[in-house]
């Protein structure tokens, strides 16, 4: 072979390689890319969605479906606002002592799940606490708006209201699809469970619309569907309650097909005479719990993780540890007010290296 021929052969091989590369690349289509989106205003918080799609337009379309779905649950489970043409939990409360209210099956399902959680948590999760929680809500709002005159609700008011928090009094007629509160003093508050339950439903809906690998975070209520595209777990930071610390996270966990929910005293609270009072109220003492800065629960089901994070936040550490150890597939991490961290043995399996 002469030199020119050699060059020619090399050139042809090069061209062939180029053609192969181009075909290989086009065969790989549609290639999935990672996209993120967020929206405000649903469940009074920011929702973040991370997913994979062939193009941004398709992803935006999916996120918009998710937003509509979440807004649907928000409207149903709202206890403060009316929505035209919808009977929601506020409608049930407004009709306490008056008449049964016909509601959507998704409300009945949430209430039945809440009763289940009431049993599981020995009454710590009680959606019939509305009478007590609404008093705290009013004092907290007033105290945040006018910190100088912030006050605690009088204990006699709380005790009087606590006479009306028997969850077994809620009359659910599955056949007629109605809910009735037989006493005008009663009211339902799903604040400790509604959002988590809705996020679980949202995760199931995401799969239905073809999002097999997606991470949902509704105001820190995190739910992982599947794994990441590269096959690794999603990595979630557990926020350090000490906002002055340089360490933004107390721990990082790796999860797939699981949820993490945190209840804490460091974001939603008000101050009376220099003392912080958080938004989570213990049904036994009728006062805010003060055992921990935060409790994070890891579980397969977001509704359960949400409910248990509130329940365990209201239990002393030893009691909470025994309680969580008694439930399969649930792990917990506690951040004490002094920054000390405890977790269940099984939680260690999820901690990122």
């Amino acid at each position: 072979m002469n030199r020119k021929k050699q060059i020619g052969v090399v050139g042809v091989i090069f061209l062939l390689l180029l053609v192969v590369a181009v075909i290989y690349n086009s065969k790989k289509e549609p290639e999935l890319s990672r996209y993120t989106a967020s929206f405000l205003d649903v469940f009074d918080t920011k929702t973040d969605v991370i997913g994979y799609s062939t193009d941004e337009e398709a992803f935006t379309e999916q996120v918009s479906l998710l937003k509509d779905k979440l807004a649907y649950y928000n409207d149903l489970y709202d206890i403060y606002n009316d929505y035209e043409g919808i009977n929601n939990i506020k409608t049930i409360n407004d009709n306490a002592g008056i008449a049964p209210v016909e509601v959507n099956r998704d409300i009945i399902d949430l209430l039945l799940f809440s009763k289940e959680m009431y049993e599981k948590t020995n009454g710590q999760i009680n959606i019939a606490m509305g009478s007590v929680l609404s008093i705290w809500h009013d004092y907290r709002d007033a105290g945040i708006d006018d910190p100088e005159n912030a006050k605690l609700p009088p204990m006699e008011d709380l005790q009087a209201a606590s006479a009306y928090m028997d969850i077994n009094q809620i009359i659910i007629d599955e056949e007629a699809s109605t809910v009735y509160l037989p006493d005008a003093h009663m009211s339902i508050d799903v604040g400790s469970i509604g959002k988590g339950y809705a996020v679980q439903k949202l995760a199931e809906y995401a799969k239905e619309i073809g999002m097999k690998q997606v991470l949902l975070s509704v105001g820190g209520n995190v739910c992982a569907v599947g794994k990441k595209l590269d096959g690794s777990d999603w990595r979630i930071g557990i926020q350090n309650p000490d906002m002055k610390s340089d360490e933004a996270y107390v721990e990082k966990v790796d999860i797939s097909d699981a949820c993490v929910v945190t209840s804490g005293n460091y974001q939603r609270y008000y101050v009376v005479d220099g003392e912080r009072y958080c938004h989570i109220i213990d049904g036994d003492t009728l006062m805010p719990a003060d055992y921990f800065a935060s409790v994070s629960i890891l579980a397969k089901d977001s509704g359960m993780a949400d409910a248990l994070s509130t329940a365990v936040f209201n239990m002393p550490y030893e009691e909470g540890l025994a309680f969580v150890n008694g439930i399969d597939g649930v792990e917990a991490l506690w951040v004490m007010n002094d920054g000390t961290i405890y977790h269940t043995d099984g939680f260690a399996n999820y901690i990122a290296d």
Partner: protein, 128 residues
């Protein structure tokens, strides 16, 4: 004649190679140039209000029509909300942010400060 044809082929191959290489280097150059320049993107009620490069120290008073506000401070490559009219102060208590996807949210004012194009974070989400 035969020789000429071969020569032209070779020239064509050469030109193609040079063009491909040039395109490759251009693409990787621009991608590389884009990765490190984090920007704090401010949105009010999901509508973009402004973009503030983290490399430029600045202060921006984000004012809403009803008189409420959030003070955004960009310093040392980080974005922070240091002052706000909202009653709960959650945005002010939040620590400064600089990594990809981190955000500071003020729900009462519907103001969100979010990092785009920032230094990669190893986290996909945060529970709080």
């Amino acid at each position: 004649m035969e020789e000429n044809k071969k020569k032209n082929d070779l020239i064509l191959i050469g030109v193609l190679l040079v063009v491909a290489l040039a395109a490759y280097f251009c693409m990787s150059f621009f991608q590389g140039a884009n990765t490190k320049n984090g920007v704090a993107v401010v949105k009010i009620d999901d509508v973009e209000y402004g973009r503030f490069p983290l490399v430029v120290d600045t202060e921006e008073r984000i004012e809403l029509p009803d008189g409420s506000y959030n003070l955004l401070v960009i310093q040392d490559g980080k974005a922070d909300v240091t002052e706000a009219s909202c009653p709960d102060g959650i945005c002010v208590n939040h620590r400064a942010i600089s990594k990809q996807g981190q955000s500071i949210v003020c729900l009462p004012n519907k103001v969100v400060v979010e990092i785009e194009n920032g230094e990669e974070s190893d986290l996909d989400a945060v529970t709080n």
